[in-house]
Point group: C2
Chain length 458, copies 2
Amino acid sequence: MEQTVVAAVKGIVGAEHVFDRFEDRYCYTYDASAVTAGKEGMPALVAYPGSAAEVSALLKLANEYKFPVIPRGAGSNVSGGSIPCAGALVMVLTRLNKIVGIDRKNMVAEVEAGVITAEFQTEVEKLGLFYPPDPASKAFSTMGGNVAECAGGPRGAKYGVTRDYVLGLEVVLPTGEIIKTGARTMKCVAGYDLTRLMTGSEGTLGVVTKVIVKLLPLPEAKKTMLAIFDDMEKAAETVARVFMAGVIPTTLELLDNIYIRNIEAAVNVGLPVEAEAVLLIEVDGDKEVLDKQVGIIEGICREQGATVKVARDAKEADELWVARRAAFAAVSRVRPTIIGEDCTVPRDKIPEMVRIIRAIADKFDIIIAVLGHAGDGNLHATILTDERDRDEMARVEKAAEEIFRATLAMDGTLTGEHGIGLVKKKYLPLEVGEGGMMAMRAIKRALDPNNILNPELV
Amino acid sequence: MEQTVVAAVKGIVGAEHVFDRFEDRYCYTYDASAVTAGKEGMPALVAYPGSAAEVSALLKLANEYKFPVIPRGAGSNVSGGSIPCAGALVMVLTRLNKIVGIDRKNMVAEVEAGVITAEFQTEVEKLGLFYPPDPASKAFSTMGGNVAECAGGPRGAKYGVTRDYVLGLEVVLPTGEIIKTGARTMKCVAGYDLTRLMTGSEGTLGVVTKVIVKLLPLPEAKKTMLAIFDDMEKAAETVARVFMAGVIPTTLELLDNIYIRNIEAAVNVGLPVEAEAVLLIEVDGDKEVLDKQVGIIEGICREQGATVKVARDAKEADELWVARRAAFAAVSRVRPTIIGEDCTVPRDKIPEMVRIIRAIADKFDIIIAVLGHAGDGNLHATILTDERDRDEMARVEKAAEEIFRATLAMDGTLTGEHGIGLVKKKYLPLEVGEGGMMAMRAIKRALDPNNILNPELV
């Protein structure tokens, strides 16, 4: 990058918010995915803008000097959505970290992009309100990043994903214009839905600087239970049956024996290490209906041959959640490289999908553990491998492709909540077809004519 | 239109599905808005395609011969979203009228674009499932039209709008490519969210031919009540208070005295004709919680000085709904022209908005009745006028513009559910700004380079 450009960047955000030493830049060559930019993809500069106006000025500069810009929150995405390319400016949004306001009367909040998801949730809950999206990374992920990736989480079964809560945005377009999309109202159909177009666009169509979200009243109570199965097939079948009984649980998580054993070894909360599968189920809402819902779910689980334990108090429920949250860390003791897929299928296809995943693991002689937000069909087939083992990695890649093709064959999607990123870029045409790719590329070109923002993703 | 083109259109859809006589074409110069194309905007031809492939062939022809295409379902939109221009082909989608499937296990349905909303809802409810969006036009509006307009309705307060239920689409792009967007799964973040970009795009970015929607379990029970106020201000204040108490009613409709008197005169169900305002409130869900919710709402209404009547049975509840549904027809007895705005404001701004609407009515010496889906801040300020009275119409236009500006000043939107259409086209920049207009126009040009689909709307 020319020294005049570096000087201009420093002029915009202040020299103290710009990093250009090799060691500093190297820290931005990876995110939470298995992809790294490496030395070949070293960014030229890292800048922390302090306002939408500074983001705008940086993007105008990028268009003038034609350098790529990689926007980034906490970099906690697992799809390779914030990996730089050579000569890029990495733009980190974490200085925009103010909760602008929580409007209790209208159950709406406005936050800057760099606000940490869990910290926002804590503030909201103090007022008796509720922001449901709960990605596994919520303790460090940012609200802007959640929007860029359309983050999901275990509560998706009942409450949906980030998209369902975003009412409006302040976005800086790739060419530098600052726009406001959506409204602070529950309904808005004025013009094209730029709010949802931006949501999940992985930093390729604009840089989110502010987010306006809808809130709900905090549910009065919740009940948590664990259903223990000695037959994976039966556990998987149970998922659709619960919904068909008219009960929509907040979360319905499926964990296989690999997960159960490794979690128990890690956190020691008394999980049944012999079980083939467990379902971790939570319902929330008015006190008056929870016992009824628990009764219905318990009945269905028992019919399917499960043993059911309902947490007696908050402490027991918390232990179950500690176990669930430890899942990814726990399986990383098995092999050093963890590749978490997030193929999603219609709920009634979960048993078939689990069978297919197991058959593929056998066929390619690799380990695939299964954990899933089964309530919304979102299975995290987790490949436990070692990226240094080239031969195994070749088999892993083939296995992943077979999982993708099987998913699409049963009307599923390659990604329920992680995003396409660099990781699944080459498979996207399988899902959306040539026409879909054409439309997406046309939109990218229309809004980003110089291909400035996250150019390698599209 | 050249005879070769007419012949080609007949070749594509069959001569029996093409109308070219003046009298026939004239029938397509208007929709449910106050706008008409008139003789100047006479379409050249009306065609009823029978498949996505035929829609595609028509659009390819349109790109070759450069004629505009106006897609249309039932034409029940009230924003001038399906008004033709001179020389256009009107493309009516009502032959695509099959419910492709209702998947009970996954609570997902697939319908062709021309399926009537209410007929679909009836089929879904037979299976114990629920499709919440309920635009006033549901008895004749089409599912494809609902998607094109992102239709709302009274249940929006609790259940949201069409956007919240559309999981995927089959869409024919303006250039003729048939694409599938979204998935049949609850979550999908593969590529840009073309599903929501198309939803609410008013037939300018694509022709929807199939819709995949999410369904819910049919609520077990509901309770309906009427709160009668002798003070409009108090009624308007009640709205936000109900939500702040943690209760989310299915519907919360506000009707002013003009509506109350005219509805009662029309349907005679015993509405309180002296009341300044009423709130029609419904809650639904599990039986166990309805009485509690009714109690909370009743308490708040009484605190606000209202008399509350809870419907004792389904018959009494139905009468209230008959009254509500008769609203627009009932006020059309006052003056021959009804202009229903749908400005939407944050819930706590409803009292102020109602005051402003009344002041504007006084200032311009016109009649404005107020009815609203107050639960989501969506107020239908209804201007009762006579389009033949030029002087009054000039005042009506000024009044509408003042309502729009007041709405935007309180962080509201020009349209909660009706769409921009031709009716509000000139006001859209007030809401989305020059940057927003630029982005929207860029997207339109990208997907529709020859400006074929509904060209006068953008």
